[in-house]
Subunit: 354 residues, 2 copies
């Protein structure tokens, strides 16, 4: 029996995507060759890359708005330094919102490049909320935030307006909800939550914000070079791009971001309602900042842990342990997780309270 | 019918590896989850990474000699800049041997970091030979060379001794022949020739050469950080690492590097003998520098091109067009290419000469 996969990332992908990916490893495109043993310059793979990039812009409603979509390597972690390399002026300054471990890592890398101002932080409460009402310094080259905090289960519901460029790490909630994506100048995300397998990094960048820092940027870290080569400056992560393309196509067929948003809202409502109504459970994040992707919760009575864990295991629930820095439980409900899996978890929670 | 795959990279992988990879996409390790939807911190994947790294050191005969094997992202192209970041002292100097387009790209990135001396170049003859008799300046922090020049079909048969660190881009011939790998301080290679699919980069580095430059290195570009986290500083390219592990295991079962070297020598001898003896073909690279991985050759009579191409197609030969900067033909004979495929090509060459 296939498990209910609540893994925080790498994480669940649509079954039809896995099926197609598995087939392509043996015979891609009916060419009698494997997807992973053909040239990335072959027409068949160039078409995959093109389709993947186009789907990204289409799903984010950013077509013909001056944006490029890139598939790179290195994970979101490499973007932590590519962001300042490409956007922080020599002797410049950047503003960061600190909403957790990932923001902090982004901040650490940016500090190697220049002045970094942390406009607000929720570290005082182990990042269980999103700071509000902060100000972005007028001389900041850009403002960086993390839309969804995978570890703590918080999610930004709105984004500040300012004169700075707006940069967002959307690793764990991209393609999960409708937003005006044109408010962002740079979006990046590791593929391994809502988009595909680990090994590809999505970058969506507004072309005209680039090339203005005065820095000499190594080729592999320069967005303009990757744009000019359609993500093929060097050998791309072929398999991860292909599976991302399949997943984006699956999402489009499902009604795109607006379509999945409804399902994601239903899943989150189902689980948070149970967390709130069941006296044995308590949510970790502040209600108004709760993430629709990662729900964090704890038992109100720790002595029930073994019993709950056993029930979860018996029900085939996988990957719901909380991150070590938070404890308790974390149910990640990415796009590909069906409502039935959330229902299975809720059933176990109800069972525990019988 | 499966084709004879002479692709220069990404390139042929063993059929049994493709079979296992395809299965793991649906059900990995009999865990009823896909390889690409489980946490990279799960015991099952941690074991894969460990096994892959150990196999690398074992196959290169570098166990217990102070080396670490890393699986990173970004391709060999990212190593072009990670090399100077990690090994060139602030205000330091590096020496490079220019044997082709890949060397030149490595040189370009290194120049962003300090003084680069090109000790010799074969550009004068479109890189159809390996320069010899050059001197490495005594004050160079390291000497960088490219062991196999994928585009031109040349291969270094020996490596210079000097007081500098020895760095080698082995992207297109790693694991193909016996060498004293302990003469190198840093070896790197994109996976997509002899090791696995695109999307993983192998780095083998002598631990005690690191941490001596005085540079502040961004975390993702710092070998010491990746070593301290066993290649899991961030989410690794799970699929590419897994398939690399399978391919390395396949190689070990075949007798390791010494075992495959015999087969590679036989394949190369078969093809080069035909190139030399057949009046319709001529080799591109100087004989003494010929690559056992990529054989470059041209027709002596260009009017036969259409006929030869048609024969190749009919025989199911794929990927033998030469690189645009060289022209003619290039037959890449990586580890997984069977002798029968080379025989099929040779048969077609003989057929043309009938
Ligand atoms: C919000 C966020 N940012 C960044 C990262 C780091 O991504 P990667 O491992 O791809 O570097 C993660 C990983 O989980 C994440 O959740
Ligand atoms: C010798 C050599 N070095 C470097 C590269 C670049 O590798 P990547 O595309 O993984 O960056 C290649 C690619 O073919 C190569 O053959
Ligand atoms: Mg703006
Ligand atoms: Mg409750
Ligand atoms: Mg030495
Ligand atoms: Mg001849």
């Amino acid at each position: 029996m296939k498990k209910h996969n609540f893994s925080a990332g790498p994480s669940i992908l649509p079954q039809e995507v896995l099926q197609k990916a598995s087939e392509a490893i043996l015979n891609f495109n009916d060419e009698n060759l494997s997807l992973i043993e053909i040239s990335h310059r072959s027409p068949a793979f160039v078409a995959v890359m093109e389709k993947a990039s186009n789907l990204v812009l289409e799903l984010l409603n950013l077509e013909n708005k001056g944006y490029s979509a890139l598939f790179l390597q290195g994970g979101a972690s490499l973007e932590f330094l590519m962001t300042p390399y490409n956007l922080m002026k020599e002797g410049g300054k950047a503003a960061y919102l600190d909403t957790g471990a990932w923001s902090s890592k982004a901040i650490k890398e940016a500090k190697l490049f220049g002045d970094v101002e942390i406009v607000a932080s929720s570290k005082d409460k182990n990042y269980n909320y999103i700071p509000k009402g902060f100000e972005i310094p007028v001389d900041a080259d850009y403002f960086h935030c993390t839309s969804n905090n995978t570890i703590y289960g918080t999610q930004m519901k709105s984004f500040p307006k300012s004169d700075s460029l707006l940069v967002c790490d959307m690793s764990s909630d991209i393609f999960s909800r409708s937003l005006d994506f044109s408010q962002f100048d740079l979006i990046y995300a590791g593929a391994q939550k809502n988009m595909g397998p680990a090994g590809a990094t999505l970058v969506v960048v507004k072309d005209d914000v680039l090339g203005k820092t005065g820095r000499k940027i190594p080729s592999m870290l320069d967005y303009q070079i990757h744009i000019s080569k359609d993500s093929m400056f060097n050998t791309p992560p072929v398999f991860a791009v292909y599976v991302s393309m399949l997943t984006l196509q699956w999402l489009k067929n499902l009604g795109g971001v607006a379509g999945i948003e409804k399902i994601n809202n239903a899943k989150a409502a189902l689980l948070y309602d149970e967390i709130d109504s069941n006296p044995l459970f308590k949510g970790v994040a502040e209600k108004e900042d709760r993430s629709n992707m990662n729900a964090t919760f704890v038992l109100t009575d720790e002595t029930l842990k073994d019993k709950f864990d056993a029930l979860c295991k018996a029900a085939g629930l996988s990957g719901i342990n909380g991150h070590r820095s938070v404890g308790g439980y974390r149910a990640s409900m990415y796009n590909a997780l069906p409502l039935e899996s959330v229902q299975a978890l809720v059933n176990v929670m109800k069972e525990l309270n019988k």
